[in-house]
């Protein structure tokens, strides 16, 4: 199945892209997508303990199981206001 990956701020800079499309196996979790990204972009590893994640624009845990067509977002520490 395919998922869309949304990246923001420094993570977007590292990947040089705000949106990626990735093929993942059925039953894949948010954490699986993250591990794939870190393998592709090793610089992202520094965010391992500080990122948050979202599925379809709602906060989701790294253990959340994905469905085909889901939008997975990785959020570095926020700094609005």
């Amino acid at each position: 199945m395919r998922v869309t990956v949304r990246l923001f701020a420094r993570l977007r800079d590292i990947a040089r892209s705000a949106d990626l499309s990735r093929e993942v196996p059925t039953g894949a979790t948010v954490a699986d997508v993250w591990r794939g990204l870190v393998a592709e972009f090793p610089e992202m590893a520094q965010y391992e303990s500080s990122i948050s994640s979202a599925v379809n624009a709602d906060y989701a845990r790294m253990t959340a199981v994905l469905a085909d067509g889901d939008e997975v977002a990785f959020l570095p520490p926020v700094s609005g206001g």
Binding site: S52, D58, A73, V78, S79, G80
Partner: protein, 157 residues
């Protein structure tokens, strides 16, 4: 006008004040305006660029307003956050809180800005003399009850 917005356009504090204070039972309106500062950590800042995960930021701002309405019943809230390139002195966020009395209005207003800094998916890209840096504040976790209570403690301080 929607009480919650993430927008590229210049913010209009007067509009938010009118939006929350159109009921006769309110005796107090508190506002907070976040403004782009010309310095940060001894750097001379030239401008900021704000980036948002917009649909999610809208939902989280709405959630924060619901939290504040639970804590201070009867309070009416509006919060608009700007994104894109902002010059020094421009408003990045405007919050307006109307309530029967000043204590709840001030507290709700303060609570919203503290929560925005904790959990809204918006990021500041700072451009300064000699470089640029993404500002990274809080790891966002809406389930972190200790963080929510800390925002409430500050709001009531």
């Amino acid at each position: 006008m929607n009480p919650v917005a993430v927008t590229h356009r210049a913010l209009e504090p007067d509009s938010l004040i009118r939006l929350v204070s159109n009921e006769g039972g309110h005796g107090a309106v508190a506002t907070f305006i976040g403004v782009v500062r010309d310095n940060n950590l001894n750097r001379r800042v030239s401008h900021l660029e704000y980036e948002a995960y917009e649909p999610m930021a809208m939902k989280v701002l709405e959630q924060i307003c619901r939290e504040a309405a639970r804590e201070w019943p009867g309070t009416r809230l509006a919060v608009h956050h700007r994104v894109g390139r902002l010059a020094i002195g421009e408003a990045s966020i405007v919050i307006a809180a109307a309530s029967a009395h000043r204590a709840a209005a001030f507290a709700a207003c303060r609570y919203v800005i503290e929560r925005v800094k904790q959990i809204v998916p918006i990021w500041k890209h700072e451009f300064f003399d000699g470089g640029e840096v993404w500002i990274e504040g809080a790891t966002a976790n809406p389930e972190d009850e200790a963080a929510r209570l800390e925002a409430k403690r500050r709001a009531c301080a």
